[in-house]
């Protein structure tokens, strides 16, 4: 499709066509509950009500959105936090009857003029972590949910047989229906349901339907993702974006929900009814022009999406290879972005929501599947994105076609590519050491680079294979660590240090060994080690712009708050700093992209009619960020011990890693630890590792001290009632819970700093219970 200007209806993917007997599938549906609602209009970004669906009791109802709720929680993920707080218990776990799955929108969600404005925010208690997991995902579901009438969808309960929930914005009805005959794997199911619920057999009608689904492997693993569809009128397939992290697809299937379907009657460029549509269009058009003129010189998002990062990460020793042992690899050039550029279909508006001209959602069309149940079928593969390519680098898979194979099956089976890749890489390392072997892996030869075996693991998970390894492997790194240690197959310290998880969630795909701030960006987080809170590696490691603990702590305050803001509004983070104004480097704070921050201030004001400042945006986030941390405390976690990260994230675990970067580490022993060159020369690698280990562990604790203090938390990482009151929260249940936890910590001696401070160094403050002075 290189020539361009092909009429929409004439483009063909070359995929294997499917013929569905939709009438037969639909005839098998039994309506379990039906609810009619009055269609309304969205005003200044808000539908002003949320939808509650209990698939167990079959209750369907509406809840109003108050001005107070907007003030305290803004929208999107904030609304999700409020709704789930009111519905679950501190004892709620991922598979509890009362656990909820929330899909929320946010006041700016559904805007078409500003790139990256179609995100849905999903929340649930995660099977991996047993705390709140939040995901930010593209696709049409969120915007359509709002235009169908609701700012959020709140699902509770468990169905006794496979069901779908259908929100029909055309008729103003919500139904729970059994769906016994539909496929479960996404690439087929989303096609079936899109066809079934489209008002007419036209591509324009299909484009007004969006489906959320998971897949068969999500039923047997903690890595279940949610696939959000967006129908592509050129490719004529429902494409998908993933709410990948933390097993939200596992929760969906545990509730026996096969899919959620939303249909919108119509919408246009002002369906959000912004207070000032003229300003909004001007700000959005300015960004379109910036992308038009500068993307080709900056990130090349429009041509290769986030895959452009692979070569950059490899060059800076940040591309995880062989389970994060190394940050670059001789074979890495085989999966650099030009190889995927060759495979991607070009010249199609590839936004995952209308009007996103950053268009990073690339696909390979007509890809011939190489393994498993769909072998030989020609399909559209959505992606790969950087994280999926990085996950493959981690498994030492260097063939773009195998990257596509892994990508396709993870998606259709409903599996998070990040967790699956990071975990499999860990299993491969354990296999290399003989801690795991073919017998212990139920016949899988999980050597680094064995893509066939990695795919076979996915296929067997999808089949519900009951072999012990297959079952525990799908529960992720944390459970496999415990399993290996219980069986006494390996040195517990090596196992714990090498497996890349924190809080029970697998790390995303960056090597953080040389950036302390980024270690904090992964560890001192709400849901677990995901780079969406902060990405500070260049600022910290390459530019050395935040050398002190105080400066790192300030960055680990500002950036997580700033990035949280996108999720409160239904926005994507990429158009903030993956495109920058031409003069950005000359501004006072280039890392914040000041002109784009001003865009967002103007954008939120133009939508809502408020008059917020850039400081107010941070305040909006700080409220929700602290609320989520406090909820983690309430659920029994959210404290210093939960912010632990494995040593592989901090430095070399094995002698091989040390030796591979010997000069770097030897120099640090002299420069940072104060050893003499002579001493270093006489030390064994093991001794050097021990010294480095102790030093870097302590650096991390000192960082946690500084960050907790900056965020207004206790030394054990608990948000203080004083801080919560400053943020405007008065809810007694929450404030009391935090106070009781802090009092309990006091008795146990946990309200003390974690770092060991040498002479001349000091913790953030020496005052005991410093927070009690805060008004």
């Amino acid at each position: 499709m290189m020539e361009g200007q092909i009429p929409v209806e004439e483009y063909s993917t070359g995929n294997t066509p499917h013929q569905w007997d939709v009438q037969r599938l639909k005839a098998a549906h039994k309506k379990l509950a039906s609810y009619s609602y009055t269609k309304g209009s969205v005003e200044r970004g808000y539908a002003n009500r949320t939808l509650y669906v209990n698939v167990g009791t079959k209750e369907i109802s509406e809840k109003p959105v108050s001005d107070q709720m907007k003030k305290l929680f803004t929208g999107g993920r904030g609304f999700g936090l409020k709704l789930i707080w009111e519905s679950i218990q501190p004892t709620t776990r991922w598979d509890s009857e009362e656990n909820e799955l929330l899909i929320t929108t946010g006041p700016l969600c559904g805007t078409t003029q500003y790139a990256g404005s179609g995100k849905s925010l999903c929340l649930s208690v995660s099977p991996s972590t047993n705390i709140i997991c939040d995901c930010n995902v593209g696709g049409f579901f969120g915007p359509y949910l709002k235009f169908a009438g609701f700012d959020a969808l709140e699902i509770q309960g468990k169905a006794s047989e496979d069901v779908i929930v259908v929100i029909d914005g055309e008729k103003g009805t919500v139904t729970i229906e059994t769906a016994p005959l539909e496929e479960t794997d996404t690439h087929l199911l989303s096609e079936q349901l899109t066809e079934m619920y489209a008002t007419e057999h036209t591509d324009k009608a299909r484009q007004k339907v969006s489906v959320v689904s998971s897949g068969t492997a999500a039923e047997h693993s903690f890595w279940g993702c949610l696939n959000f569809s967006f129908y592509d009128i050129r490719r004529k397939v429902p494409r998908i974006k993933q709410a990948g992290r933390g097993g939200l697809g596992t929760v969906l299937r545990d509730k026996k929900i096969k899919a959620l379907v939303v249909k919108v009657e119509r919408f246009d460029g002002v369906s959000n009814h912004p207070a000032d549509p003229v300003t909004l269009a001007k700000v959005g058009t300015k960004l379109h022009r910036e992308i038009r003129d500068l993307d080709r010189y900056q990130c090349n998002m429009r041509t290769v999406g986030t895959g452009h990062l692979v070569e950059i990460m490899d060059a800076y020793d940040l591309l995880p290879t062989e389970n994060y042992r190394f940050g670059s690899f001789p074979k890495a050039s085989k999966i650099f972005s030009p190889h995927f550029y060759e495979l991607f279909t070009k010249i199609i508006p590839d936004g995952c929501w209308h009007g996103c001209t950053m268009a990073c959602a690339k696909t390979v069309d007509g890809y011939t599947v190489m393994t498993g149940p769909y072998k030989g079928e020609k399909v559209t593969v959505d992606g790969p994105e950087y994280e999926t390519i990085g996950a493959c680098a981690n498994m030492s898979i260097w063939d773009p076609l195998w990257v596509l194979e892994f990508n396709f099956y993870c998606d259709t089976y409903g599996i998070d590519t990040i967790s699956a890749g990071t975990a499999t890489a860990f299993y491969m390392e354990m296999y290399e050491y003989g801690i795991l072997n073919k017998e212990r892996c139920n016949g899988l030869e999980l050597c680094f680079g064995n893509a066939d075996a990695a795919l076979e693991l996915l296929h067997r998970m999808a089949q519900g294979d009951h072999a012990e390894f297959i079952k525990v492997a799908g529960k992720g790194v944390r459970r496999v660590k415990d399993w290996i240690i219980k069986n006494q197959w390996g040195d517990p310290q090596l196992v714990n240090d090498a497996g890349m998880e924190s809080k029970g969630l697998e790390f995303s795909e960056y090597v953080t060994k040389e950036s302390l701030a980024m270690q904090g960006g992964y560890g001192l987080t709400l849901k677990g080690p995901q780079h969406d809170e902060a990405w500070l590696i260049f600022m910290d490691m390459v530019n050395n712009a935040i050398p002190t603990f105080e400066m790192k702590a300030e960055a680990l305050h500002y950036f997580p708050m700033w990035r949280t803001w996108f999720g409160l509004n239904g926005l994507c983070k990429l158009p903030w700093n993956d495109i920058e104004p031409a003069n950005n480097a000359e501004t006072a704070e280039p890392s914040k992209v000041p002109e784009h921050v001003e865009n967002y201030v103007a954008y939120q004001n133009a939508m809502t009619g408020w008059s917020v400042t850039k400081e107010d945006l941070i305040l909006q986030s700080e409220r929700c960020y602290n609320w989520q941390r406090a909820m983690n405390v309430w659920l029994g976690r959210g404290q210093r011990k939960d912010d632990w990260i494995p040593f592989r994230a901090m430095g070399p675990v094995t002698e091989m890693e040390y030796v591979s970067r010997k000069e770097r580490y030897d120099t640090q022993l002299v420069d940072k630890l104060g050893l003499s060159k002579g001493e270093v020369e006489t030390m064994t690698t093991k001794e050097k590792l021990t010294r480095l280990y102790a030093y870097r562990r302590n650096q991390y604790e000192k960082l946690a001290d500084a960050v907790y203090y900056r965020r207004g938390w206790t030394p054990n990482g608990i948000p203080t009632p004083q801080k919560m009151k400053q943020l405007g929260f008065t809810e007694i249940k929450m404030l009391q819970m935090l106070q009781e936890k802090i009092d309990n910590d006091e008795q146990q001696g946990l309200n003390t700093w974690g770092g060991v401070y040498e002479k001349g160094e000091h913790p953030p403050t020496v005052k005991k219970r410093y927070w009690e002075q805060w008004k």
Binding site: Q5, K204, R234, V270, I291, R292, T303, K346, G355
Partner: protein, 149 residues
């Protein structure tokens, strides 16, 4: 479906223009039922020192591949056409038009553009405007899609 191979585009004889702007007024009448011209006109006559210049869509069609909902098509007569019922107002075409000929006014969210209807040609008292036939292959421009600068 057979695709058009030619399209009529506007050309401007600057030496004949008197700057009366009757063309703009005729154009805004077509698009907005208004005689105001200016911001409501798809054709603009701009004065540079003593000379006049025309600013209008030349039907190159770069915007066709930008539209996420298929509101932009090349019609049978080759003209690049925006169906405002289908348009969802994203401004991708406005932002990416290399010559700024896809226009947006404050009165509505959907943009508008020259449709080579000839109203301006007929309105021009000095015959400074003319519609001429061009081969689409000769004028076509495809949106930037190569990796790297």
């Amino acid at each position: 479906m057979s695709q058009p191979t030619t399209v009529k585009v506007l050309i401007f004889h600057a030496e004949k223009c008197t700057g009366c702007l009757d063309c703009e007024k005729a154009c805004s009448q077509v698009h907005f039922k208004s005689k105001k011209g200016g911001e409501l006109s798809a054709i603009r006559i701009l004065k540079h020192n003593k000379d006049f210049a025309m600013h209008v869509c030349d039907q190159r069609g770069l915007c066709l591949d930008m539209c996420p909902v298929g509101a932009l098509t090349r019609r049978k007569n080759g003209v690049v056409w925006l169906d405002k019922e289908t348009c969802i107002g994203c401004q991708a075409c406005v932002g990416f038009c290399p010559i700024g000929a896809m226009r947006k006014t404050d009165v509505r969210i959907e943009p508008f553009k020259c449709i080579s209807c000839g109203s301006c040609v007929r309105a021009c008292p000095t015959k400074a405007l003319e519609l001429v036939e061009r081969n689409i292959e000769d004028i076509k421009q495809v949106v930037y899609h190569k990796q790297g600068a």
